[in-house]
Subunit: 257 residues, 2 copies
């Protein structure tokens, strides 16, 4: 199925499941919707933190059409599931947010790790969380983001263990894709970036790290959501975890080389 | 001299000349200052047009401190010369804009071609406009920018002629630096991008194209200024042409690989 065919099924309510593995050649994105009065600061925050918040597309104020990444799509209906946050708390997980949409909203689409994971797998580097059938482990770190307005806080990273021999190739492969988090932010000792216990992630699930393997850390798209939640805006809308927006952009077209 | 030493001379009024060739290892930047009410749309415009408007730094609303690129600098005094535009017309070229600064202003620093030219020269690709002692030729093209709010219009490109044998290396070298315009947008026939007469640039000066040479075109930092001028904001402040802001960022640190 093409991205537009899949989105059509989401729009009609026929499909409301996680999007992992769908339309593998295409970029999937995290969604954050905020009112216009917070949008400049959030856009600035993303611009200052491109590794954790790589922007794929931003809508005009009041528009639900992501015209750079999927000009026929509608951000109010074309994701399988959403989360509504009021004052930082999840209050609902609808499959359609038309009723919540107001004319001062701005939609932000932020690159997601599915794209670079696919590139790693194609290069023979297996993903442990896939092998173990769990979510990727994610950790709050001592790496501060560069604040903008009220948006400030720690960078969240995801971790993938791999053989020492695969680490250099992993850096090369992911460096090609800065718009989906790019190169790792850290390799090796978790304590260097403020992670006390690698077996107790702050989000997602723990995975096995085998003898001789090295943990490799990437900036994670959960960062902007965690930070936006922390500042408790009256209303914020995001995708539900794993239920991403599928764009019309092919991953290969987003590589810088 | 270090960037901060050069900026100190600009701040004291001792230095008010063009910055070409100064602090060669460091990123120089175009400056655009706009009021907050236009800043979201302009930031969005830059985000949507990263080849012509690669953002190096954006200040908080009301702040003249570019904290990501030169945290000790002051954008009101630390450029050698400015231009004040009122309703799209240049009205003054001061060396200090403290008197114009208001609490709702946002400063945008946009990557400049000096950085990638230096990389090309180091790779043995000479710059004809330097050899002939003139400004680089620039042209309005048929390549439309992606609009944002009132910001819309054609992409402006700069042109550098080179030997056929150098073209591939030029693509490789500049691809490493997306934050200073990155890879070319076009190679060869000027008419393909709407340039009728290569010997009559819209900005800058014509340069000689020798037998067997190919014109290579890069998106140009004049684009956002030309577009902002076109929409005639009540007040806009920029650097004077060639009188750039010198950051504390080393060019090599900005390469993606």
């Amino acid at each position: 199925m093409t991205p537009s065919e899949v989105r059509e099924k989401m729009r009609s309510g026929e499909f409301s499941s996680p999007t992992s593995g769908l339309c593998e050649e295409y970029i999937q994105a995290n969604l954050v919707i905020l009112p216009k009065d917070l949008a400049f600061d959030f856009l600035l925050f993303c611009q200052r933190n491109p590794k954790s918040c790589p922007l794929i597309d931003v809508t005009d104020a009041g528009s639900y059409i992501p015209k750079m990444s999927a000009p026929q799509a509608d951000l109010r209906t074309d994701l399988p599931k959403y989360r509504i946050y009021r004052d930082g708390q999840v209050v609902e997980e609808p499959t359609d947010i038309t009723a919540y949409w107001t004319d001062d909203m701005v939609g932000f689409l932020i690159g997601c790790s599915f794209t670079f994971e696919d590139a790693l797998i194609k290069n023979g580097i297996p993903m442990r969380h896939n092998e173990e059938g769990v979510n990727v482990p994610m950790y709050k770190t001592s790496i501060e983001t560069s604040p903008a307005g009220k948006f400030a806080g720690p960078t969240v990273v995801s971790m993938r263990p791999m053989k020492e021999a695969d680490v250099i190739r992993a850096v090369q492969v992911t460096s090609r894709f800065p718009s989906v988090h790019g190169a790792p932010v850290h390799i090796g000792n978790p304590e260097s970036i403020g992670i006390q216990n690698i077996h107790q992630p702050d989000f997602g699930d723990a995975v096995t790290i085998k003898e001789g393997e090295v943990p490799v850390f990437w900036a994670c798209g959960v960062t902007p959501q965690a930070i936006a939640m922390h500042m408790k805006p009256p209303l914020m809308i995001t995708h539900a975890p794993g239920h991403m927006f599928i764009t019309d952009l092919k991953s290969e077209h987003m590589s810088v080389i």
